[in-house]
Symmetry: C2
Subunit: 268 residues, 2 copies
């Protein structure tokens, strides 16, 4: 069969890390990881070493996003090669994690890392390259529905890797994805303070189309600010708590289709 | 008319304070107060001095509940009479606030203080003695629906005081209230770690009856824990983020009716 020609052959997956608590107030991943550290039965798979790991234990202890700086943005080449003295906690931690699970790009590195996050936005379950965002869930809160969604997704992800390692060939497929386009800030007054809120018609409408003329913000004095772009966009991370400090009310995305080849494990 | 005999005559209300940011990550009150500090038109009433005030500015700046300790629990007689040296930030702040708006119990004290809070629980709008809780809203997030509810309630509260001061007599009434009974902790393992979540059938069901045999918690290994009390209770503050550290999954309340006399301003 000629379809054989389009099969991508990829190396076996031997070591997988599952991270929770990269942000210390995102409870689902923290609780799952702590559970799996105590009892790993649920994440064991044939031929796979799976390591559950708390990314930012000091932030978890304080139930805060981070101590000094966002760990998720700390894995830069500059940080990873900086001398050890007087570093912000998360930069030091990024270096340790890079040593344990990397180094980035080396043959010693883990094959796959899943990084479990929560969002306060109404995004459902979202795979973002290697990270997984599940919401809506307030920071510092554990909701059973969000916990169980994350748990189920990790089950399927590990099942997939086990099947892949066993030699199963997965057929080609087309997946719909959302590609990030633009970061949208809140309207602000001349002092830089927020002067409007996400409009009630946009709040909780992650992934739904935003068309020219649709309400976007509501100012404190009751004025509606409309979306004036010409293209329909799909906002997400709408009103995420952690992004106020990043001057981001939401991001716009566009919908695309990606075609994936069939894949199977490379023969040795 | 004999009903006249049951009118409670109360002193005029001259000075009212409205607090936001007693907890620094509860955004509705913080944004309302900042708005009113810039422009007080909305809270001006005849014969009333209304002072908008940020309770915990350092916590607001860091968007965290508190710096050293919960300001809301810092107004104890011991704290208010302690010497000024080396105090936790919120204890020092409680002393300053007591000087500005009190002292507690003195004739210099403000007549009324409204203290604006948010909760992550699905409680709607709840008057708790002098404080007002509105939710659900994640910490660090500003939702327009919650903001507008709080704003509307404050409008009516100030309108009420203005009418009262003008001599209007308010008729007697009966109000249904919920009286707090018991604090319920999460189930825990022998190390004191949480071993169960609020059950999905209870989550978001603040103020709804919980009867003997109803699901209450779901353990991480999938077991349902039932409510076994004999009396029907009305849980609230269900899965509030800030109460994990207080070992509280929710509080139970019972429903009661309170009868209020007619009231009017005392003649001078
Ligand atoms: Zn995160
Ligand atoms: Zn509060």
């Amino acid at each position: 069969m000629s379809s054989r020609m389009n099969v991508s052959c990829l190396p076996e997956t031997k070591r997988v890390a599952v991270f929770g608590g990269t942000h210390g107030n995102e409870m689902s991943g923290i609780m799952l990881i702590n559970m799996w550290i105590q009892n790993a039965t649920e994440i064991k798979r044939n031929g796979l070493l799976t390591k559950p790991f708390i990314g930012n234990p000091r932030a978890v202890e304080k139930c805060t996003r981070y101590i000094d700086t966002d760990l998720n943005r700390a894995f830069t080449p500059e940080n990873l090669s900086s001398p050890d003295e007087g570093l912000p906690y998360e930069v030091q931690r990024a270096k340790e994690i890079n040593q344990m699970f990397g180094p980035k790009g080396s043959s010693d590195a883990y094959d796959v890392i899943f990084d479990l996050h929560n969002t306060t936005s109404n995004m459902g379950s979202t795979l973002i390259l290697e990270s997984l965002e599940v919401g809506p869930q307030p920071q510092g809160v554990l909701r059973s529905n969000v916990f169980e969604s994350m748990r189920t997704i990790m089950k399927h992800a590990l099942d997939f890797l086990e099947l892949f390692n066993s030699g199963v060939e997965f057929p080609p497929c087309t997946v719909e994805v959302f590609r990030v386009q633009e970061r949208m800030d809140y309207p602000r007054d001349i002092n830089g303070n927020i002067s409007a809120m996400v409009h009630p018609h946009l709040q909780d409408c992650d992934w739904e189309p935003l068309n020219r003329g649709d309400p976007m913000f509501l100012t404190f004095d009751g004025r509606t600010i409309l979306y004036e772009g010409t293209n329909t966009v799909y906002p997400t991370f709408i009103n995420e708590a952690a992004y106020y400090e990043k001057q981001q009310a939401f991001v716009t995305t566009c919908r695309e289709k990606l075609a994936a080849n069939a894949i199977r494990k490379a023969s040795k």
